[in-house]
């Protein structure tokens, strides 16, 4: 065990993991994140807290993770490179570990022009792969990036992301391999809608034997409305929603039920793909649907290890 978090235990035991996402509030009221934690804790093995996703200012991921931890949730702290240099990053990692936040997910971060402060100066001192490198060095060698020694242990279970739908397709697995080489323990993918393309990507992952070195969690997004389907297809960078999914949503009498059905069908197929070790549910602004998804996907009860 690298950090002994609940997520690591579930994945190491070979069980099919379920994680979900809890976006922090645009304010300082703790009850918002606590409510999401209470709602989701029995239905997933760990809960991701996003780090100012789409470059919109929210409560910090670290503080939100601490609030969740107090509820008994195993938090996954997302950390992006957009807003912090290597000094702040390493300092925040030490603080997080001290507070019991041991799962950290490394991302480069959405560019600031997508958010509410497009005129901000970005940092990008490191990129996501270098962030993974820094974290694994802190954990394995107990050294800062500078080479100076860290006092004490830095238990971390290190996550990263990959998008099987971004271009160039063939290069995506090579890039995943670099993340594994840099020290990633688990991978969350961008949302899967086109399952056959994802299966093709997973085949390349398993061909390289990467599924033996890293746990791949397939991302899923339940679609709540026709508008959301269209918006994700047309405007959200990195997300690829096939027209067929949008048409199904348009033709449905009950859009929410159809969105749920589509999501469950995708999970059903994902479970059969070799090398996939779990799912990560990103129910953006629809967290209350997660218990239903996990239950109807036959993934309850969650293991107690």
């Amino acid at each position: 065990m690298k950090a002994g978090t609940n997520l690591e235990k579930v994945l190491e035991s070979g069980r099919f993991a379920v994680t979900a996402e809890a976006g922090p509030p645009r304010g300082a009221v703790p009850s918002v994140i606590l409510r999401k934690g209470e709602l989701l804790k029995a239905f997933c093995d760990a809960l991701n807290v996003t780090d100012n996703q789409t470059a919109i200012v929210r409560m910090s991921s670290l503080s939100s993770c601490v609030l969740l931890k107090q509820l008994g949730v195993d938090p996954v702290m997302q950390m992006v490179c957009r807003d912090r240099n290597r000094i702040a990053i390493q300092s925040d990692v030490l603080g997080a570990v001290a507070l019991g936040i041991w799962n950290i997910l490394c991302l480069t971060g959405d560019y600031q022009s997508f958010g509410d402060h497009p005129t901000a100066k970005s940092v990008f001192d490191l990129d996501s792969i270098q962030l993974i490198q820094v974290l694994s060095q802190m954990r394995d060698e107990k050294k800062f990036l500078s080479g100076e020694k860290i006092s004490g242990e830095v238990p971390l279970f290190i996550g990263a992301v990959e998008n099987p739908y971004a271009d160039p397709f063939e290069y995506r697995v090579l890039r995943l391999a670099k993340k594994v080489k840099a020290g990633a323990d688990f991978i969350q993918t961008q949302a899967v809608f086109d399952v056959s393309k994802f299966a093709k990507w997973m085949e390349m992952v398993t061909d390289r034997g990467l599924d033996k070195e890293v746990h791949v969690l397939a991302g899923v997004i339940p679609i709540r409305s026709v508008g959301m389907a269209r918006h994700m297809r047309d405007n959200v960078p990195g997300v690829s929603v096939p027209d067929e999914v949008v048409t199904r949503m348009e033709d449905a009498k009950d859009a929410r039920e159809e969105g749920l059905k589509i999501c469950l069908e995708i999970i059903e197929q994902i479970k059969e793909i070799p090398g996939v070790h779990g799912i990560h549910i990103m129910a953006v602004a629809w967290e209350e649907i997660v218990p239903t998804i996990v239950e109807r996907a036959g993934l309850l009860p969650r293991p107690l290890i």
């Binding site: 490179c81 957009r82 290597r86 480069t108 971060g109 560019y111 022009s113 970005s122 990008f124 001192d125 490191l126 990129d127 996501s128 792969i129 270098q130 490198q133 820094v134 990036l145 992301v161 990959e162 998008n163 971004a166 271009d167 160039p168 290069y171 090579l174 890039r175 670099k178 080489k181 840099a182 961008q190 960078p237 990195g238 690829s240």
Partner: protein
């Protein structure tokens, strides 16, 4: 004036490792003024590389390598010598390296680090090509600069937002990493990207460290 200085010889030799036949490009503009890639430095580099057992298939001194069409024309007249070379070593600022890479289908190595723009941004106006990061990595990226051309300055791109060769930030902006992969695939050198590049020393960049005397 783009201020550049030659990379240490050990670094140049490391980047030329495994390659025997080299074509040299020098610049009679800024690099000559900086004594990093003018006529004299090109001749010295030729001798140094020959002492290391390399064959210099030829060299070209171009008035302003940053002038892409001039560079294209000049190098066309050396077609045979560039074709028979394993790679080109370009003793100019980062812009000259990129304009050379843009006109020759060969591996192009930067022989200099770009230290400062000294106020101007040379001749290639189409887009930003060099942010004077002070530690040129064009060798790793096939002569296309991700520091200047990727909004996130990624060392390991493309990010998850790259689609159809375009940057997620703007539909008119090519994804720099898509270009890098395309070029290295064409050259059969995708292996260059297998490396995990450690965090960069930003202290030598235009925006890092104390202001430098020019």
């Amino acid at each position: 004036m783009l201020v550049s200085e030659q990379k240490p010889m050990e670094e140049i030799l490391r980047s030329l490792d495994g390659e025997k036949r080299i074509f040299l490009v020098g610049c009679k503009g800024c690099a000559e003024g900086c004594e990093s890639g003018g006529e004299q430095q090109v001749i010295e580099m030729k001798q140094k590389l020959e002492e290391e057992g390399k064959t210099i298939t030829g060299f070209s001194l171009i008035d302003m390598v940053c002038n892409e069409s001039l560079t294209r024309m000049k190098l066309a007249s050396h077609r045979q010598a560039t074709d028979s070379a394993d790679s080109l070593l370009v003793l100019t600022c980062g812009i000259g390296v990129q304009s050379t890479a843009a006109v020759v289908d060969k591996v192009v190595h930067p022989g200099c680090n770009t230290i400062s723009s000294g106020g101007a941004h040379a001749e290639w106006k189409e887009a930003e090509r060099c942010l004077e990061c002070g530690d040129c990595i064009l060798d790793y990226t096939g002569g296309i600069c991700p520091i200047a051309r990727c909004p996130k300055n990624l060392f390991h791109g493309p990010c998850g937002g790259s689609e159809g060769g375009k940057c997620e930030i703007h539909p008119d902006l090519p994804c720099a990493w898509h270009l890098i992969i395309e070029r290295l695939s064409k050259l059969g050198r995708l292996d260059k990207l297998e490396a995990v590049v450690p965090p960069k020393d930003w202290s030598v960049s235009l925006t890092g460290g104390p202001p430098r005397p020019r």
